[in-house]
Symmetry: C2
Subunit: 568 residues, 2 copies
Amino acid sequence: MAAELTAHQLIAQHRPTLDQALEAIRTRAYWSPHPEHPKAYGEDGSLDLAAGKAAFDAVLNTRLDLDQPGTDDWVGGEVSPYGIALGVTYPHADVDVLLPAMKAGQGAWRDAGAEVRAMVCLEILKRISGRTHEFAHAVMHTSGQAFMMAFQAGGPHAQDRGLEAVAYAYAEQVRTPGTAEWSKPQGKRDPLALTKEFTPVPRGIALLVGCNTFPTWNGYPGLFASLATGNAVLVKPHPRAVLPLALSVSVAREVLTEAGFDPNLVALAAERPGEGIAKTLATRPEIRIIDYTGSTSFGDWLEANARQAQVYTEKAGVNTVIVESTDNYKGMLSNLAFALSLYSGQMCTTPQNLLIPRDGIRTEEGHKSYDEVVTGLAAAVGGLLGDDARANGLLGAIVNPDVKARLEAAAGLGEVALASREIVNPDFPEAVVRTPVLVKLDGARKYWDGADSDAAYMSECFGPVSFAVAVDSAADAVDLLRRTIRDKGAMTVGAYTTDPEFEQGIQEACLEECAQLSLNLTGGVYVNQTAAFSDFHGSGGNPAANAALCDGAFVANRFRVVEVRRQA
Amino acid sequence: MAAELTAHQLIAQHRPTLDQALEAIRTRAYWSPHPEHPKAYGEDGSLDLAAGKAAFDAVLNTRLDLDQPGTDDWVGGEVSPYGIALGVTYPHADVDVLLPAMKAGQGAWRDAGAEVRAMVCLEILKRISGRTHEFAHAVMHTSGQAFMMAFQAGGPHAQDRGLEAVAYAYAEQVRTPGTAEWSKPQGKRDPLALTKEFTPVPRGIALLVGCNTFPTWNGYPGLFASLATGNAVLVKPHPRAVLPLALSVSVAREVLTEAGFDPNLVALAAERPGEGIAKTLATRPEIRIIDYTGSTSFGDWLEANARQAQVYTEKAGVNTVIVESTDNYKGMLSNLAFALSLYSGQMCTTPQNLLIPRDGIRTEEGHKSYDEVVTGLAAAVGGLLGDDARANGLLGAIVNPDVKARLEAAAGLGEVALASREIVNPDFPEAVVRTPVLVKLDGARKYWDGADSDAAYMSECFGPVSFAVAVDSAADAVDLLRRTIRDKGAMTVGAYTTDPEFEQGIQEACLEECAQLSLNLTGGVYVNQTAAFSDFHGSGGNPAANAALCDGAFVANRFRVVEVRRQA
């Protein structure tokens, strides 16, 4: 079959983008080729707001036929957190047919080489980018994110993370040259001479286990890192968030076909309710790489049981912000209020524990007692979310009943400094919309310094729940931070301090316990947001995640290099 | 304490070497800063032959006091395969004291940064290089390698592999800049601006579990990769091969001290007979990285149980050479004879299974039957080892009674084409010196194509044992090769063929099954030898080893990058 997209065309179109991405991960300056503003779309064949909505509406209540081999049934039952039953059905795979079919095209994909693979990946991302408005609705109606967040985090930011993974994968593969002439002097005799060929080879089939809250953002790094390194990729979405990844798979198969490769290099594994197909797939011998985002318990299970695979997990952590002092009290409170509110705190990066000395903090407005700080923060959240329309735009919807139950239970854990408020979304009256609850807890050392602390703040309480933890001293806050990272993991750490020595102590704690630290954020950057090409998401060095997005370690072991040497 | 070796001095002396190493791993052309010829030593403070021997003799029957904290006893009982009791005792550690002491200096080591760490590692290697003659005796009298091999493989080649690991570790750490300014445009508003700091941080304490046969060659990559990435390293040598690694630890501690760092960043864990300390150490929470070379069973145990650590294993494989055709029959036979004989076949890279079509092969001398090829190979080995002095220089000594027992049992597995011969080493009459045995086996497909083949050639028979396996066809040889790699792993694959199509088929098999291939070697390069900076040792993609020496994957996950960001 003659490819519609030749390598030459792909390189001409995408190589400059790859080179910019390679430069960005080297300098870690700001860069993105994917516009964040909804109005930026509609040119160059991309879907504008109306066309994106129409495309989303057109897919509802249809069968998304990906033309996959081994399809033995059609499954699906997604109900949007906003109340809409999506009505989309997806292929259910007979994996004994699908997995062998996915291997068939791997030889040609391997032989295409690192550059062409990267170019194909960039074409996939470009087409996804052109459908960002459509994907935004798909992400919104599976994750419960508000539209603007679904648009940005599920669109350009996710595409950035995918491109970043492609750049890392490409760079890693070309560190070793394709060929080398080796000539070793032998004194007066002729040198020993060998011709060597080096080929990056895939590990096998990669399994992507998607999550409910960020199907594209957390899915694209593993998907593209594995594909760019020559592996076939089987995408197993969360049963409540199939559509965004199914559409991604559809685009990937379309581009692979047009570029002359086997579309089965990327396939979808949707499942019946309660089928729990991830466990079955994860231990299949064909699966040699797994990327997973989700609960600690299943992440731990994968690490323990999927021994035939490289397993990259992002699990749960307990994120801490230490409030020791500030020279911008209002800026601190409003920054924190936003971080606690965004997507109803349903981000793995949302702060949970705010450690505040019980005798208060220094600010440019003078001393503030613990109670004043907590009251101030409650007021800041209340102000931010006081207008229901604005609140709906920030909070989105509660993603599932478990989160709602946790939120409701949290009020019983301590004194409620800010009660959760129910908000009606006029466009989607069935959506469960809640403002965050802020609960005061006593963080005296005696409550957490034992061997097995059962303090509420020592467990992750995923959702719009934060704890204002009164600690005995600022030094205790650092000790509790260390202990929390070490025992529970952390995706993010934040701190506010004007004391250089104290700041140094927090930095040392984060370096030793291996957690990413944001200091004194008071403006438009938030502790729970990272930017691809510049910020690392997670550290890979504490229990919250065994990998970071994105670095060399995330890609280096997805392929191996085979050397063929012969006498020259 | 003022450092005797300043960073400035170290950089001035070693940075050019590091830069050359970085260039070599990029081009993979021949390069080494460590001379292979014994006569090259003796200048610049390095020990010459006589001084090296004297230094080795001086350490015999002494206590090697490394001045380590928590030393609760002195242990040692090495007996050379050449019959000498070394009489050296080493510190036995109370690990509850030693491990915390090893962490004490990690902050300063981390803060020194990637370049200074690399320079300190290069200084360690330089001092080891200067004592190559002394190390050669230590390697010879623990591994049983003949002197010349112990000198080269245990000296410059091991040092090359250590330096290669340092180069990879350095390159990996500097891929992310130390600092970055990030500025994101916000339309008409001021850009969002952050200052970011990125610090490579160690995982913790690394454990090196050394092997009996190549204590330095297999030990240095992990040791230096971990140290260069900021980790402290605890060296647990094989009880029969302590001295080479104990001397290495001694040099490392000396250099660390002189450079102003804590010597406890590198420590030795020698053990009492039967203590089995590796299992205890490997599951300690402080141990976050493990490098291991040895049996498959313990390697598998480590991978399954040392879950808190990154585990890099080189285990056992079954190495195959396919003989399909050749245009240099004598060259092929003599090349293979050398590969089978070197160090009595006690290399993880020695070919075991020689797959030969039962109806013979094409050569430039005409058709050769299976029996002719086997007889020819037997004659080549016999000729190579016909002179006892030369045989002693090639074979070395049998490293332990297990290898001798396997060798003796092998003669019962099939028709013996070449019997093992006992050779006396006049210098060391107690040494067990044996020539290889070559056994003919029937490799008809019916004997290996079942689910659980118990054919002798499907198990590793470590030592001077090779099987001339008669296969039904050349195509079957490739199928058996694939099956052997997939089920048993392979460190090396060799093949002889003049048929481009057949060659292509073998290459495809090696690419798909992930094994390193040497084609048509007939000169002075052997399938069981690799050169640092150019050849990969193992692939990391088949059951013989989960890592290769050396690549990005070998170093990338030994450290993590912690980011600290603050508003600009």
